[in-house]
């Protein structure tokens, strides 16, 4: 069990670093949603099911959508 959680945390770190490094902003937003998804799984393992539900619906769905809409208005690639 503890190995699984460590694995999740490492994945989350990788996603967070990827969100900073990517030049394609859509990819960065998707990595951010991935980080949020793993955060919600970790919340569930910490027995905070209420927070996990809020995180998965707001952090993964709505925030990603708002970012994608914002990127569509501006430029997709970072110089």
């Amino acid at each position: 069990m503890i190995f699984f959680i460590v694995f999740l945390v490492l994945l989350m770190l990788a996603g967070a670093i990827a969100a900073c490094v990517f030049k394609d902003l859509i990819n960065a937003v998707i990595s951010l949603a991935f980080v949020s998804l793993i955060a919600s799984i970790l919340f569930y393992f910490l027995q905070a099911a209420d927070v996990a539900m809020a995180e998965v619906s707001i952090g993964t769905a709505l925030v990603t959508a708002i970012f994608v809409i914002a990127i569509r208005r501006t430029k997709r690639y970072e110089e």
Binding site: D50, M53, A54, S57, L62, I69
Partner: protein, 225 residues
């Protein structure tokens, strides 16, 4: 020179933080109030989900403040985006048949799940905020897959205003029935049943409708602009 000063200030700050943290035993239970909630929460409020008991009953006034913050955010977004609306040059491409059909089929199911989450807030994990966000994501799905259904702005505004009004009225009713703001004046009923916990389900339904219509309005504002 500037670097030296900033390093000095940082080390002073770090020293202060270390000194402060050393006085707190790591992982020790310092807050006595949580014991009170866990032991007496179900009996006092009738809600099996202790988180809901705290959010709606013990800290109901803070929840009213949170709702007000969300409302202010939605209004601010509307004010920023107001006036900049240009007529769209080209019509958006229609989505594929699979996406459109999937969205149409999934929309009522997601809506029903959102409603379930906020009506059962006092029994199972979840509540008004989570249910509202799920409802907003259902509307987001409609926007992704074609726009055959029109989003009724007036209905959303009316729902939002009325739910806020009902929240405050429930609080004031508690005040007039000889107690304090948001007093749980209705009978508690038996725990673990749907119709229990007094005003908690009513308030959570109202919060769910308000948050759902507000977030859906935000999405609508952003996409249509």
């Amino acid at each position: 020179m500037r670097k030296l000063i900033s390093i000095f200030l940082l080390s002073v700050m770090g020293f202060g933080i270390v000194i402060t943290l050393q006085n707190i035993p790591f992982g020790a239970d310092k807050a006595r109030v949580s014991d009170y909630y866990v032991n007496k929460g179900v009996k006092e409020t009738g809600a099996v989900n202790i988180v809901t008991a705290v959010v709606v009953n013990y800290r109901g006034f803070d929840t009213l403040g949170e709702i007000a913050v969300l409302f202010t955010g939605a209004i601010g977004l509307g004010a920023v985006l107001f006036g900049g609306k240009k007529p769209r040059e080209k019509k958006p491409e229609p989505a594929s048949l699979i996406l459109r059909t999937g969205c149409k089929l999934l929309f009522p199911v997601i809506l029903l799940f959102g409603i379930y989450v906020f009506t059962h807030g006092h029994l199972t994990p979840g509540g008004g905020f989570q249910g509202g966000a799920i409802i907003a994501s259902a509307f987001l799905l409609i926007y992704l897959g074609g726009r055959e259904m029109k989003f009724n702005k007036t209905a959303a505004k009316v729902t939002e205003s009325f739910s806020g009004l009902i929240f405050v009225i429930m609080g004031l009713l508690g005040l007039t029935s000889g107690g304090y703001f948001l007093l749980n004046f209705l009978p508690k009923g038996t725990a673990n049943t749907l119709f229990s916990a007094g005003i908690i389900p009513i308030i959570y339904i109202v919060i769910g409708l308000k948050v759902g219509s507000e977030l859906a309005g935000i999405i609508e504002n952003l996409i249509e602009d």
